[in-house]
């Protein structure tokens, strides 16, 4: 999976973007507010979260068994199940199904798993035309960009940029106004309608897979997944193996919590259950129904300290409430999954060396864990990655040595006292004429990063412990 090593470079670039800054500000204010309203209106939000957590725990504990049950039921319903160990295997399977269906045009609805495996470029490379049908995904597909948010992929794009993009890529008649959101929506709808009608294969992800029925559940607010699947001859579902739940009753709990956590809605506009190809009595639906189950590093998380992460239902509440995400945006992470969930998942999927910054770019403020509807202890999991980085020499040598030295200095009493006295004396000397102001404008060494934007206090002559000892002697 894609991961970018130059996190600080990306952060600098993204933070300089005024459009992004405005979008993130608006998103931060609205999503956190909607989340609060959606949970505050419940009699017992804590109980719903506890139930959702229990459902997901059960799903992951019995994952192997539930997946087999799911497969049996999909087969019984007339569909097929394909197992993919990694992204390239999944892409090969999907390309083969498209070739067998003699497809030319493929429509797809929003799916982060397809981003993870880079399905669209793979299918395009294999000669198929692929059209994203989620509005946000469609916009960024035209712009040649990747999603910057897992539920709001075009968050980073302004209205004006959408106008420019449509004018550039669509044959918009001169006399047709294209200025308001409604006009843009109508324009996208007109273009996508043609695509829906002429598509041969429709690809969706899945929010949940139900073992006891072989159901694939997809939620959208735009209805595009339904048009993608009912108007094509072949429906391919591609999703991660962790999406399975045991029963419809379990799925019901998650369907109640997912839209609330994601966008503050009680229900999404469309909640669709797919059960295989059209039956003889069905008025519509695809002739073929395939489910591609992707592992791609997920089963390796079972039994490790990262197993909790498999509970994730991709609601993005952790992104929406993350002060780091809302400061830098999704693209700065350089990975498919951004924000706190991405900081935990990316090292697993793309390797720790390639994503070593991500678990470190957190203040551990804990808001992500607080809002997670399935109780994933995200800061704790990020800390586990940091432990692995420390153990495997993936942090800068200076930082490692610094922490070791800090621990050593703190092992006695004398060493601490001396180190502290030296630090205070040094800073007071370094302050020079600024001593009287009480503030340092510059610092040497690692302190430079502090002093870029903040002054640093000149420490007083005597430490608290010295003053205390003096007081004790005096009384």
């Amino acid at each position: 999976m894609r991961a970018e090593r130059d996190f600080p470079g990306l952060v600098e670039k993204e933070m300089a973007d005024p459009v992004l800054r405005e979008s993130l500000g608006a998103m931060e204010a609205s999503r956190a507010h909607m989340y609060k309203l959606a949970f505050d209106e419940l009699d017992d939000a804590g109980e719903l979260k506890a139930r959702a957590t229990a459902v997901r725990r059960r799903s992951i504990a019995g994952m192997a068994e539930y997946l087999q049950q799911f497969e049996r039921n999909v087969l019984a319903n007339g569909g097929r199940v394909h197992w993919a160990a990694d992204g390239s295997e999944a892409n090969e399977i999907i390309a083969r199904i498209c070739r067998d269906a003699q497809a030319r045009l493929v429509t797809k609805s929003k799916s982060m798993v397809t981003e993870e495996i880079e399905l669209v470029p793979a299918l395009e490379h294999a000669g198929f035309e692929v059209v994203e049908t989620d509005l946000g995904e469609y916009i960024i597909q035209l712009r040649g960009e990747t999603p910057s948010h897992i539920t709001a992929p075009s968050l980073h794009v302004s209205l004006q940029q959408v106008i420019d993009t449509f004018n550039e890529h669509h044959q918009v008649p001169r006399d047709r106004p294209l200025e308001t959101a409604d006009q843009l929506l109508a324009e996208a709808r007109a273009v996508l309608r043609e695509k829906f009608l002429h598509a041969d294969v429709g690809i969706t992800g899945a929010n949940f897979l139900v073992a006891e029925t072989g159901s694939v559940i997809v939620v959208t607010n735009e209805g595009n997944a339904d048009l993608t699947t009912t108007l094509t001859r072949t429906h391919i579902v591609v999703t991660g193996i962790e999406k399975v739940v045991a029963t419809l009753e379990d799925a019901e709990v998650l369907l109640r919590i997912l839209p609330r956590a994601a966008v503050g809605q009680r229900l999404t506009n469309y909640t669709s259950f797919f059960h295989g190809p059209r039956g003889v009595a069905d008025a519509d639906g695809p002739n073929e129904f395939h489910v591609v189950l992707l592992d791609n590093g997920r089963s390796a998380m079972l039994g490790t300290e990262f197993e909790d992460m498999l509970r994730c239902i991709r609601c993005a509440a952790c992104l929406n409430h993350c002060p780091v995400y809302t400061a830098i945006g999704g693209h700065a992470y350089g990975s498919v999954y951004p924000g706190p969930m991405g900081a935990v998942l990316t090292p697993q999927l793309a390797g720790l060396a390639a994503s070593r910054h991500l678990p470190n770019a957190s203040t551990f403020c804990g808001r992500c864990a607080e809002v997670c509807p399935v109780g994933i202890p995200l800061p704790k999991l990020m800390r586990h990655w940091r432990e692995r980085e420390f153990a495997n020499h993936l942090r800068p040598a200076g930082e490692r040595r610094g922490l070791r030295l800090w621990a050593w200095l703190n092992d006695g009493g004398v060493r601490y006292r001396l180190a502290q006295a030296v630090t205070r004396k040094f800073l007071r000397w370094y302050a020079g004429r600024a001593l009287a102001t009480g503030w340092l404008r510059h610092l040497p060494g690692p302190g430079r990063a502090w002093a870029q934007t903040r002054d640093f206090p000149v420490p007083p002559e005597q430490s608290f412990q010295q003053l205390w000892s003096k007081r004790e002697r005096d009384t």
């Binding site: 002060p323 400061a327 403020c365 070791r404 621990a407 703190n410 502090w450 608290f464 412990q465 003053l467």
Partner: protein, 263 residues
């Protein structure tokens, strides 16, 4: 800031308190340490400050679990035998209360000791309010203040009401609520020097919030000196006239409005 000799109560102490002053207070704000000790003494406790260093939080969060373990063991040893361990910092208190036990194997002796220390450890305002039941503080601070809830206070210790209940006893002290009180200020320990640009953006947002309260703010008050030094450094660099006080200083009547010079 006047520092007079504290009056120890004549009655038998309510218990022995070991004060973990924290390395930041020890080094940069001794006044907050002395204020903490005095508040505890005035509440009737016998206060000691055993020779101490860092609790190990930077190592724990930096991935150096072994280093953190060593520092935890030393802290456990130093604070053995006190009825209470009081910490004028929520993040350091949370290190002892929440994370020390996580450092050791489930049924090891160390785990038992860590859990024992965790049970005896309190953040300062949590202790003054929940344990000591402090009422009618004689202090005065005539100012509009913003209370900065640290993330550790809110989400690791559940401390939100205690600072407010105590500050309500300080004559003239009036809280101006923030629009976004739950949002991190961007300090984050080593985070603030590992990712200074992100940290700075977060500080800017926090300061924008504190400059748009209903009534103009004289001072920023918090349980955590790390957040305060970070925000004070930013306020001072930008020339924004807002004072910064540790909550112990305000509760102990050491704070005054000097507009930007208290820091």
């Amino acid at each position: 800031m006047s520092e007079t000799t504290p009056q120890k109560p004549a009655t038998a102490p309510a218990g022995r308190v070991g004060l973990l002053a924290t390395c930041l207070i020890d080094t940069f704000r001794p006044a907050a340490g002395l204020a903490s000790a005095r508040l505890l003494e005035q509440a009737g406790y016998d206060v000691s400050v055993p020779e101490q260093g860092c609790c190990g939080q930077p190592n724990f969060n930096g991935g150096d679990k072994n280093g953190a373990r060593k520092m935890a063991l030393r802290t456990i040893k130093v604070f053995a035998g006190y009825d209470y361990v009081v910490v004028p910092s929520a993040s350091c208190a949370a290190m002892l209360r929440v994370h020390y036990p996580e450092l050791f194997a489930a049924d090891s002796d160390e785990r038992v000791q860590a859990e024992d220390l965790a049970r005896r450890t309190w953040e300062l305002t949590q202790f003054l309010h929940d344990v000591a039941g402090v009422k009618n503080l004689p202090s005065e601070f005539r100012a509009n203040i913003v209370i900065h809830d640290s993330c550790s206070a809110l989400r690791e210790l559940g401390v939100r009401a205690q600072p407010r209940a105590l500050l309500a006893q300080v004559t003239g002290c009036k809280e101006q609520p923030l629009a976004n009180p739950d949002v991190c200020c961007g300090f984050g320990g080593l985070f603030c020097i590992k990712y200074p640009d992100i940290s700075n953006r977060m500080a800017q947002k926090k300061i924008a919030d504190l400059l748009t309260t209903k009534e103009p703010v004289d001072a920023l008050v918090s349980t955590d000196l790390g957040c305060l030094l970070h925000l004070a450094g930013k306020l001072h660099r930008d020339g924004t006239p807002v004072d910064v006080w540790h909550i112990a200083e305000v509760l102990n009547g050491q704070a005054s409005v000097v507009k930007g010079e208290s820091r």
